[in-house]
Amino acid sequence: MNVPTSYVVGLSALLFTLGVIGVLVRRNAIVVFMSVELMLNAGNLAFIAFARASQSLGGQVFVFFTIAVAAAEVAVGLALIVTIFKAKHSIDIDQMSSLKG
């Protein structure tokens, strides 16, 4: 695909911004978590674009590790959300205002 790298990085910036807005606006903890995934994905897209621009496979390998770390993060994060739901019967992040479980 013969598209300038800056277009792809621009799309990545747009997706990252949408993820940030999701984290700021939504109060459902699962949707906030999904917005974080969107931001990670936007970062991956920038990595792939720059890997192609500089003809180096290191970017693609880094994206592979990012996906592995994202999988680990999702497993632990969702377990945390389930635990919080068991304690508070709500996943509204405005309810999670105390440190004491």
């Binding site: 695909m1 013969n2 598209v3 300038p4 790298t5 800056s6 277009y7 792809v8 621009g10 799309l11 910036a13 747009l14 997706l15 911004t17 949408l18 940030v20 807005i21 999701g22 700021l24 606006v25 939504r26 109060r27 459902n28 699962i30 949707v31 978590f33 999904m34 917005s35 995934e37 969107l38 994905n41 991956n44 792939i48 720059f50 890997a51 192609r52 621009a53 003809q55 496979l57 693609q60 390998v61 994206v63 592979f64 590790f65 996906i67 592995a68 994202a70 999988a71 680990a72 999702v74 497993a75 632990v76 969702l78 377990a79 959300i81 389930v82 739901f85 709500s90 996943i91 405005d94």
Partner: protein, 172 residues
């Protein structure tokens, strides 16, 4: 407009539209499905950007495993309805202002010439980005990071089990 550019703009439009749909839908199940669509669109973009291996990993790990985990938790908790009343009235305008500021800054950095690598064309040499090349690089140059990543996944699995199990021993 070249066909490549039209293809890219179509995919970009779908990706942005599904991201907005994820943010805007009231029902969390719809959010998950919109995000799956977004990830698959980005996987097609990876495929077009000479990253076939990463595209397959994206489909199987992200759109497959991770999003199914999300869907599972959404349905397990019955949390598909979002909370109704708005308590922080300034939250939405503040988020809009901050988001537009971030977008303006990234756009400025991108298009005001701060990056020198921005304009390279997409002509690639040889089999750049083929799964064989990526696999060889992973297991030749990045063998130790691979092992560390596997250890990290093991720790995450054990952590998830420890966090979400019932404390029956305490009750006895």
């Amino acid at each position: 407009m070249t066909p490549d550019l039209i293809l890219f703009l179509t995919l970009a439009a779908v990706a942005v539209a599904t991201a907005v749909g994820m943010l805007a839908s009231r029902n969390a199940v719809y959010s998950v499905l919109f995000l799956v669509m977004n990830f698959i669109t980005v996987a097609v973009l990876y495929l077009l950007l000479n990253a076939a291996f990463i595209a397959m990993v994206q489909v199987t790990v992200y759109a497959g495993a991770i999003m199914v985990l999300f869907l599972f938790v959404v349905m397990l908790l019955g949390a598909e309805r979002s909370a109704g009343d708005e308590r922080l009235r300034w939250q939405r305008p503040a988020a809009a202002v901050l988001g537009l500021t971030l977008l303006g800054e990234t756009g400025y950095v991108l298009f005001a010439g701060a990056t020198t690598s921005g304009g390279l064309p997409g002509a690639v040499v040889g089999d750049f980005g083929s799964p064989a090349a990526v696999g060889l690089m992973l297991f030749n140059d990045y063998l130790v990071p691979i092992e560390v990543a596997s250890l990290l996944l093991l720790v995450a699995m054990v952590g998830a089990i420890v966090l979400s199990r019932d404390d029956r021993k305490k009750a006895r």
